[in-house]
């Protein structure tokens, strides 16, 4: 039974991958698969948000603040936000709602959070692609602008994924210590919808307000993705390091909480 260290690590990694894969499939079934229209909700929410914001902007006669259509501008804000919110909120409830599965020793809090993050990010990405195709088909929105800076866009997605993963891990840990943490996150998300630049650019803000808004790492991510995805829009207000540091710190603290909880043999209420 004694294995060399690399072999042991390889074996653990294999088990981890298997568990995450199984959790993703299971979660996909329980999350949306219950009803026939399950996955329709994943499309409905951004559609409604986009529709409402678009409608009001048309109503007050506001033009797109960038050299791209209003729809493209709003989408590049709505989707990073929704992807972040889904992972952050679902991360905070991850452990509690999967507690019975932890009777199997290979199902660890870390694997549960990783599975949720992957599922939420993938779902949001697919829905986003779907919207991009819809806009192309019905509003003649060109596809080329999305792909003319592929590396820039990919790093933006990477930053979003890191930040979302960090928040999910951190929230999962906090929720094991503070039972009402998911409520706090839901409340925070409601505020952040208005303070992340979903429907305005950093450039359009007065400098003092901008400094405050830019404390929120999500506003950096949205500017980043917009700079990559929208033609002619290049923001100088986002800082890749700032996002990375936030993401890594949250991840670190979340994993630290998990480690302490494990070390002390702390058990959640069953």
């Amino acid at each position: 039974m004694d294995l060399s260290l690399p072999a042991k690590f390889g074996r653990q990694l294999e088990v981890f991958g298997r568990v995450v894969y199984a959790l993703i499939l299971r979660e996909a079934r329980t999350r949306h698969g219950r009803s026939r229209i399950g996955y329709l909700w994943a499309v409905m929410e951004p559609a409604v948000q986009l529709g409402v914001l678009w409608f009001f902007y048309e109503l007050i006669g506001r033009r797109s603040p960038v050299n791209a259509s209003m729809a493209a501008f709003l989408l590049t804000g709505i989707f990073p936000f929704l992807a972040w919110r889904a992972t952050a909120v679902r991360g905070s409830t991850a452990i509690q709602s999967n507690l019975p599965l932890m009777v199997h020793p290979q199902v660890q809090p870390f694997s549960i959070v990783v599975a949720r993050v992957i599922l939420e990010l993938a779902t949001n990405l697919v829905v986003w692609l779907f919207f991009i195709l819809i806009l192309r088909a019905f509003f003649g929105e060109p596809l080329s602008s999305w792909t003319d800076e592929p590396l820039h866009l990919l790093t933006g997605f990477g930053a979003l994924a890191l930040l979302a993963f960090g928040f999910a891990m951190f929230n999962a840990g906090m929720a094991r210590i503070v039972s009402f943490w998911p409520e706090i996150i839901r409340m925070t998300a409601r505020v952040l919808f208005f303070t992340s630049g979903v429907f305005y650019t950093m450039e359009s803000l007065p400098p003092r307000a901008r400094d405050v808004i830019l404390l929120n790492p999500l506003s950096h991510v949205i500017e980043w993705i917009r700079s990559a995805a929208l033609p002619g829009f290049d923001s100088m207000h986002y800082d890749p390091m700032y996002v990375a540091v936030w993401g890594l710190w949250l991840l670190f603290v979340g994993m630290f909480i998990d480690w302490v909880v494990r070390l002390t043999g702390h058990v959640e209420a069953h």
Binding site: R26, V103, V107, T264, V267
Partner: protein, 222 residues
């Protein structure tokens, strides 16, 4: 072989106090032996089983295992009520790296649930759930099965079937049965221990464990 080395477990109480459930337990469960664990209600049998299974971590000490060990059978199987029996099987097969088709076929045959295999678990009776859980754990083919309180699920016919399966497997699988009564152990166990007041005292024979346990009950009653 399963070896408990200085295993400790305590829980925080609401009033801020601490309750010690397992107080530095050293014990060995040798390969090839079926062992019973006798203990009154609340003596920590379930906690001990969960720690042996690896579902819970001790506050101190460790568990060394050279065999594959099941999750504790008996109470609250980790099924998702929204998913069907077959879907729940798939999840467990995946995390234990077993062939999904083989497991499904085995459980279909063993648990006798018929078309209910494809219905959500929410619609199952508790007997049906227990049958599914039992069949699934049998399909996993563990080397040691942890039985919490009872082996008897389902009706007499199903119980006879369970017994037959265990007898067939005696050569490669063993049992650790925790119960407040020795009747369950009579049929299976070679030896037993008594869990009381955080201590696990192991005996070579079931009879001596039983005597010790009866004395304990007599003392409590007096």
């Amino acid at each position: 072989m399963i070896e408990l080395i200085g295993v400790e477990k305590h829980y925080r109480l609401r009033n801020g106090g601490k309750r010690t459930v397992l107080d530095h337990i050293d014990a060995v469960f040798p390969k090839g032996k079926n062992v019973g664990i006798l203990g009154l209600n609340g003596s920590g049998k379930s906690t001990l089983m969960r720690i042996i299974a690896g579902s819970e971590r001790p506050n101190a000490g460790r568990v060394r295992k050279t065999v594959t060990v099941s999750w504790p059978l008996g109470f609250a199987p980790s099924f998702s009520g929204n998913l069907s029996g077959a879907e729940n099987l798939r999840f467990v097969s995946r995390i234990y790296d077993r062939d999904i088709d083989e497991v499904t076929e085995f459980v279909r045959d063993f648990a006798e649930l018929g078309r209910y295999m494809d219905e959500p678990i929410n619609s199952y009776s508790s007997g049906m759930r227990a049958k599914l859980a039992f069949g699934l754990s049998m399909a996993m083919d563990f080397q040691v099965y942890l039985v919490d309180e009872t082996l008897s699920v389902g009706d007499a016919a199903f119980q006879a079937k369970c017994k037959r399966v265990f007898e067939e497997r005696a050569a490669r699988s063993n049992l650790i049965i925790a119960s407040h009564h020795h009747s369950v152990m009579q049929d299976y166990c070679d030896s037993a221990g008594v869990l009381d007041n955080g201590d696990l005292v192991m005996f070579d024979t079931l009879e001596s464990a039983q005597d010790y346990y009866n004395d304990l009950i007599a003392k409590r009653a007096a």
